[in-house]
């Protein structure tokens, strides 16, 4: 077996040193009733070729995005990842390293995390960012909990603009705590009144910008309203490339910014792993969950990096920790950082412009589809359309798939009990979409709607 270096003669020699007659003897603390005498009746080991064949077969049953005009977003976005990023990620010193607890042999990971934290703080317009969380959904939940900890209040308002998975994950996280989530209904038109809901009981308001249905909003008034009553504003960014073209959440007054970082560096991978970005103000840093890399010097006075402020974390604080999180999304954070470094400041801005321009182009072309209305007036690279009162978006999406087109996400997949959302389809366009893709989508929509 190719991953196991011991030979039978090695094993015999080692057992002799140990003084055991066989390996079974080493398992003598296992209750006899629970010991399995032989391998389970399951498939035996296989060579690379056989395994690869099985996976190629499974992969072949899927319609991959690169083989279809593709317009799906809703929290995961298809972007082109530069070839260098993936090649660099495969370097064994990154791929096969543990968490950088031993800083003398982990300066590579630590410096990369310090750069990542800086990049995240820069694009979100915040003071400080952590070394990442599992994904956007868990980062949103942790932000809500952190806001309760800071304000010593228990009420969390979740905007209808928030991705339903993020809202569900946050509700689940608060379910058995003293905190409570107030979830507002889905808001495809951007009419939601948050200002009137914030009061002196409110720990935080959580909004997503651009929203789940694509709409973008100026959050300055909401931020000042929150601050007047001592509440915090948490802004979720599901599509971080939007920050290349937008006023940052930090500049609009956010206290905590969380994001799903999958758009940069990682590809879609059927939705996981993700990358939770988490940024806040300096004054809240000790209330922030997750790992932090910090700058220091070594005994020779040379600049270096360590994990720091760990007393917030579970391995020291145990049940009083800011979170139970014990890892981050290290390799995904590295991928994000590499992609952003490849883009640079000018490339990041231009990527966002292309995304927005493609979405505008898509909207213009969709105007030719009879009965179709674009809902939000302002958007970045994604918007929701209404296909007509009697049209079911889910059926349209299935019909498009029959034609080899992956044409958006029906809102009903997330909101099955909201009949008025049945005709709503959410469409995204990125730099990967060609003019031809858009024409094929429009032509197909004309046929099926």
């Amino acid at each position: 077996m190719r991953y196991l270096p011991l030979t039978e003669s090695d094993r015999r020699a080692m057992l002799a040193v140990i003084g055991a007659k066989d390996v079974d003897e080493l398992f003598r603390d296992v209750p006899a009733a629970a010991r399995l005498a032989e391998p389970l009746p399951l498939p035996r080991h296989q060579g690379e070729m056989e395994v690869e064949r099985a996976f190629t077969r499974m992969a072949g049953k899927n319609l991959s995005a690169g083989c279809a005009p593709f317009f799906i977003g809703a929290g995961i976005y298809r972007h082109h990842v530069p070839a260098a990023v993936d090649q660099l990620l495969l370097r064994g010193e990154f791929l096969t390293a543990y968490t950088p607890y031993q800083p003398e042999v982990s300066q590579g990971t630590l410096q990369a995390l310090f750069e990542f934290q800086t990049q995240v703080a820069m694009i979100t317009g915040m003071d400080v960012a952590n070394a990442s969380m599992y994904d956007g959904a868990t980062a949103t939940a942790e932000a809500a909990i952190m806001a309760c900890r800071i304000t010593k209040r228990a009420k969390v308002i979740l905007s209808g603009s928030l991705h339903p998975h993020y809202a569900e994950t946050t509700e689940t996280s608060l379910r058995y705590t003293e905190m409570e989530a107030e979830l507002l209904p889905p808001d495809p038109l951007g009419f939601e009144d948050l200002l009137g809901r914030v009061d002196s009981q409110t720990a935080c308001v959580v909004v997503q910008n651009p929203g789940f249905f694509g709409g973008v909003k100026d959050l300055r008034l909401l931020a000042s309203t929150c601050h007047e009553v001592g509440a915090l504003l948490v802004v979720m960014v599901a599509e971080p490339t939007s920050l290349g073209l937008f006023e940052s959440p930090g500049a609009m007054g956010a206290d905590i910014v969380v994001a799903e970082g999958q758009s940069l560096g990682m590809g879609m991978n059927f939705g996981g792993p993700g990358l939770g970005l988490f940024a806040t103000r300096d004054k809240y840093v000790r209330q922030m969950p997750g790992r932090l890399a910090g700058q220091t010097v070594d005994v020779d006075g040379k600049r270096g990096w360590v994990l720091t402020l760990s007393t917030r974390e579970q391995h020291i604080r145990r049940e009083k920790a800011t979170s139970n999180i014990c890892t981050n999304s290290g390799l995904c954070a590295l991928a994000f950082s590499m992609h952003l470094t490849m883009l640079g400041g000018s490339g990041f801005g231009r990527l966002a412009e292309i995304n927005h321009a493609n979405a505008v182009r898509l909207e213009q072309k969709l105007a030719k589809v009879k009965g179709l209305k674009v809902l939000a007036q302002s958007y970045y690279n994604e918007f929701a359309v209404h296909l007509g009162d009697d049209v079911k978006a889910a059926e349209v999406v299935d019909a498009l798939a029959e034609k080899g087109i992956l044409g958006g996400v029906p809102a009903s997949r997330f909101y099955p009990s909201w009949p008025e959302l049945a005709p709503v389809l959410i469409l995204a366009a990125t730099e990967t979409n060609t003019e031809d893709d858009m024409d094929r989508l429009v032509a197909a929509l004309k046929e099926v709607v």
């Binding site: 603390d29 629970a34 389970l40 992969a59 042999v105 990971t109 220091t296 490849m342």
Partner: protein, 496 residues
């Protein structure tokens, strides 16, 4: 260290590397993007801006060199022996990386129509089947993103089950003193209070003390098995019976599952929930701190409370259940989308490569390697417990008494010898712990060399070389770093 100074500050292959923010070359980019054409910005609510971010501009060769140099300042499993106890640093197969990059698996969106992703759902279902077979448990929640996340998932299911049975007043969780810090932290996030239970002199849970703590307010027990001392809890069946008898559920922290895969089905031990760290037991890369995955198996008593989503066999193939379903009472959702799919692909590739026979051989070799270390070092170090260990060997710092050398110094000296240190000062129940987990990936030759080095260092420490230990490591890109400075005056980002 070395008296030789270079003009550059570099030392041969050890190259000093600036931060990216200190090496920008304005106007460069590593990516060629087309002209966007005239962009109509009036669809952006007046929020559009074209501004500087402070991000540096670099070309591709600069970027490639930067990250290559950074990588050379890291130690990985690919570099050498990584005996980090409780972390299972085994070889990460490259086939897994190749397969995870197949466009038919990588370039998939989680919200595609389900009939266009039947192969992806098959990957999830096949992995779930293997995990259920290997543990003997009827259900697995696939979506937790890491071990601690799986702990929380399992405890949430326990809490939901108690609530459903009108036992919502059960809020106390028993956790051994030797537990990993995530255990009490996860319990607290479910609204449970944590009640520590002591260990006996042989490193196992004190069953009598446990029984004395049982009562009508006990929700359950969290126990790592094999435990954090690397020992199998020999009374685990009695422990399970006791907790069940008191109306509680039994959560097992599966961090050390690598010791028993294919040799013990956890269902036979009376366990109700256990997370499985795919990045430990099933060889997916640690990646410098994630992404991991922590699927959590559940007993029949807890199955109905598994979080969404999950895959079922429908009439037209695999079906992903994202909302309600007859008979199910999911406690909620633990993350976005469907779990760590990219990690699932790698884990399944490893599992199908190894097969039932290979997995059993791996756990046997892992235990053999650990016992070999324990036996070969037992006379110069001080093993904390008698008898065979499981997949990791625990020593304490009695062998360093009066040498002036601490466990930390000893570990740092190992770095200069070309090894990653073992886990130090964990578990907390022994003094100055040194926890070594060799895994099945290491050859006898590697272990013999390591043993010779550790023996040499132990004799050197006893011979009175404290100063040399205190000054180590000498040969690393950076020597010991000032953690006090980092914490007193935090610098958490670069600033111009």
């Amino acid at each position: 260290m070395s008296d030789v100074n270079t003009f550059s500050g570099n030392r041969g292959l050890q190259v000093e590397e600036k931060l990216i923010f200190e090496m920008g070359n304005p106007g460069c980019s590593g990516v060629d993007l087309p002209e966007p054409g005239p962009v109509d910005l009036d669809r952006m609510d007046g929020l559009a801006k074209r501004g500087a971010f402070g991000l540096p501009d670099l070309s591709e060769p600069q970027v490639v060199r930067h990250y290559t140099r950074l990588s050379q300042k890291n130690y990985g499993i690919d570099t050498g022996f990584y005996p980090l106890g409780s972390c299972t640093m085994k070889h990460n197969p490259r086939l897994s990386e190749k397969l995870a990059r197949l466009p038919g698996l990588a370039d998939l969106h989680p919200l595609q129509p389900q009939k266009t992703v039947q192969g992806a759902l098959e990957v999830m279902d096949s992995l779930a089947e293997w995990l259920k077979e290997l543990t003997g448990m009827p259900t697995v929640a696939m979506s937790p993103a890491a071990g601690a996340h799986g702990e929380w998932c399992g405890l949430m299911a326990i809490r939901a089950a108690h609530d459903d049975n009108c036992q919502g007043h059960r809020r106390r969780i028993l956790v051994p003193e030797s537990a990993h810090g995530t255990n009490p932290a996860s319990a607290a996030m479910c609204g449970f209070s944590v009640d520590p239970i002591p260990a006996k002199d042989n490193g196992r849970v004190d069953l009598d003390a446990l029984k004395a703590k049982l009562g009508p307010d006990v929700a359950g027990l969290m126990l790592t098995n094999p435990n954090t001392c690397g020992l199998f809890e020999s009374e685990i069946i009695e422990i399970a019976a006791a907790i069940h008898g008191a109306g509680g559920y039994f959560y097992c922290d599966g961090a050390n599952f690598n010791a028993i895969v294919g040799r013990v089905k956890v269902a036979d031990l009376g366990i109700d929930a256990m997370h499985i760290n795919l990045h430990k037991t099933f060889a997916t890369p640690h990646g410098g701190g994630g992404p991991g995955a922590g699927p959590t198996v559940l007993s029949a008593a807890l199955a109905a409370f598994a979080p969404v989503p999950y895959v079922v066999h429908g009439k037209d193939g695999f079906e992903l259940v994202e909302g309600g379903r007859e008979g199910a009472k999911p406690f909620g959702r633990v993350k976005g989308f469907h779990g760590q799919f990219g990690v699932f692909v790698r884990a399944l590739a490893y599992i199908t490569s190894m097969g039932a026979d290979g997995l059993r051989q791996a756990s046997s070799d892992a235990v053999l390697n650990a016992n070999y270390l324990q036996a070969a070092l037992g006379d110069v170090l001080t093993p904390s417990f008698d008898g065979p260990c499981m997949h990791e060997a625990l020593f304490d710092d009695r062998f360093l008494k009066d040498t002036g050398v601490t466990t930390l110094d000893f570990a740092k000296a190992l770095i200069d010898e070309g090894y990653h240190p073992m886990t130090m000062y964990f578990p907390l129940v022994v003094h100055g712990a040194l926890l070594m987990e060799p895994t099945e990936s290491e050859s006898k030759d590697t272990l013999d060399q390591f043993i010779a080095v550790v023996r040499g260092l132990a004799l050197k420490a006893k011979a009175g070389a404290a100063e040399a230990f205190k000054a180590s490591p000498q040969f690393t890109p950076r020597r010991r770093l000032d953690e006090t400075l980092a914490a007193r005056t935090p610098v958490l980002r670069w600033k111009a």
